[in-house]
């Protein structure tokens, strides 16, 4: 039980450090004033570069409307059923083509990374969206910790499987654990985040505590929750929704308004929080991150590689 450290990861990384977002409230304007006055730490300036200035959804919206099938298939199931999940202690097994494979205690990981706030657009494959103020660190920092070997081309992720705390696992149809994957260049992109918090608070369990992936230019299901395993490999890894219905869910699953889901259009989306009369708005290519990530897919047919 070496990884079962008594120390909580929240003890190692002072909450004030990794959760400090108060200085960022008020958006870009305050940010500009803040950095001019030299009040903000360095990471906060970096956060501004990648964050959208759109108004974030409320904490309640983000934490009560979730897809997390390990806790049930209804949108309200995760908040109702996830609270029993033990997220501390937590460790992540990093293996495959890395120099330093092993069980990494989350506390140790968090001691070595810099947490920043990233306000990202989040687009679900079901054609709804949110704006989420995550706290987290770039996935690259974790991969650097393990030392990616030169032959590695993909990163595979797995979610925790703990039937006694995850009532949704009993349902058949999905082959657990939930699996996701990225191409290595996608994984190393500075937008790709490992989130540990939300709104400056600990990540709610229904949102994938204590550690989840956030890839803002891909459909939400790529952003795998409650990660316990990260594997570097030279082969494209199997991914859960693709295993279930490959015609509907591709490995890439980049947000693309021009490629419909077979059962619904992806041209528009509805942002959660607009009430009964919310208007649909056009979905943006790569969820609005085209400038940052389009070059990753130069020369690729995005209709074939959906």
């Amino acid at each position: 039980m070496a990884y079962r450290s008594k120390l909580k990861y929240s003890d190692v990384t002072p909450k004030a450090d990794f959760l400090n977002r108060r200085q960022l409230m008020g958006g870009a304007g305050a940010l500009a004033i803040g950095s001019a006055a030299g009040v903000l730490p360095k990471w906060a300036e970096a956060a501004g570069k990648y964050s959208t200035d759109a108004t974030p959804n409320t904490f309640e919206e983000i934490s009560t409307y979730n897809n997390f099938y390990e806790f049930g298939t209804g949108k309200g199931d995760p908040v109702a059923n996830a609270q029993r999940l033990t997220t501390d202690p937590w460790s992540v097994q990093i293996d495959g083509m890395v120099d330093r494979p092993g069980n990494y205690d989350l506390a140790d990981i968090l001691a070595k990374v810099s947490i920043e706030e990233r306000i990202y657009r989040f687009r679900c494959v079901e054609a709804w969206s949110m704006v989420v103020p995550w706290n987290g660190f770039e996935l690259k920092q974790l991969l650097d910790m393990a030392g990616v070997q030169s032959g590695a081309k993909y990163v595979a992720f797995e979610t925790l499987v703990r039937p006694e705390e995850m009532p949704g696992l009993r349902r058949s149809g999905i082959e657990w654990p939930y699996r996701e994957g990225l191409r290595l260049d996608e994984a190393l992109h500075p937008l790709t985040l490992m989130a540990t918090g939300l709104y400056g608070k600990e990540l709610p369990k229904q949102n994938g505590a204590p550690l989840r992936l956030v890839v803002p230019w891909k459909y939400g299901f790529k952003s795998i929750k409650s990660i316990v395993r990260v594997t570097l490999t030279d082969k494209m890894p199997p991914t859960t929704w693709n295993m279930l219905q490959s015609r509907e869910y591709g490995f890439y699953s980049n947000v693309n308004p021009n490629v419909s889901h077979p059962r619904w259009s992806q041209a528009t989306e509805r942002q959660i929080g607009g009430g009964l009369f919310a208007k649909r708005k056009p979905t943006l290519m790569f969820n609005g991150y085209e400038k940052e990530v389009a070059s990753l897919y130069d020369g690729m047919d995005l209709k074939a590689n959906y």
């Binding site: 099938y69 298939t73 999905i174 279930l244 619904w264 959660i272 009430g275 009964l276 208007k279």
Partner: protein, 219 residues
């Protein structure tokens, strides 16, 4: 123990009798009045946050499920009478009309609140099988709703019964529509579909039996 089944049978008949007698005292207008309320209630919930942070989809689902439940209720009136002696045939028209009202509300929410964009509505109906199926189901119910009155029954005579057999494909399409819209095989839609198929099965033997009898007669 030859008396036991008899006693049970008597008990059962008396329960059915009670229901039959009691239901005779329920005025039809009260069924309509009560039946009108659920969509209004869901709309109220949607407007006041009672349906969660995504009320459009929730309202759409609640109304669709309500329609399917009413469809199943209306569909079970005949087997209830045939197998259990419970006679609710007086309410069949009101339940049928209310079913149409629920499905129409469901469709309206989809058109006006959900998809909103006219070109996309048309594209969805043509291109998305589960929407095509739902839409066909609704269209099949349209002539049923229009002819749910005494005048039509008199005017159409025997054709009225034939016309109203459209409810069979409509209820199957409705159940299928629900099964197909989920991302994976989910329990609830499958339960609805199983109930629909079971109710459908209660009607098949009679037909098959009469056909078989006719066949025997011919030989």
């Amino acid at each position: 123990m030859p008396t036991d089944p008899g006693r049970k049978g008597v008990l059962f008949v008396s329960v059915a009798d009670h229901i039959n007698r009691g239901s005779r005292r329920v005025p039809i207008w009260s069924v309509y009045l009560l039946g009108l309320l659920p969509p209004v209630w869901f709309l109220y919930l949607g407007l006041t946050g009672g349906l969660g942070v995504e009320p459009i989809n929730a309202l759409e689902r609640e109304l669709g499920k309500l329609g399917l439940q009413a469809l199943i209720l209306g569909f079970s009136i005949t087997p209830l009478r045939r197998f259990l002696g419970v006679n609710l045939i007086r309410f069949r028209r009101s339940i049928g009309v209310l079913t149409f009202y629920y499905i129409a509300c469901h469709l309206l929410v989809w058109l006006v609140l959900d998809v909103q964009i006219l070109s996309q509505i048309w594209a969805d109906i043509l291109k998305r099988p589960y929407i095509t199926i739902g839409m066909v189901g609704f269209l099949l119910m349209l002539p049923l709703a229009v002819t749910s009155n005494n005048w039509s029954v008199r005017k159409l005579g025997a054709d009225w019964r034939k016309l109203h057999r459209l409810v069979y494909p409509a209820v199957v399409l409705g159940g299928l529509h629900y099964v197909m819209l989920a991302k994976t095989w989910q329990t609830e839609p499958l339960v609805y579909f199983a109930v629909i198929l079971t109710l459908l099965a209660t009607r098949i033997p009679v037909k098959l039996l009469t056909m078989a009898k006719r066949g025997q007669g011919a030989v």
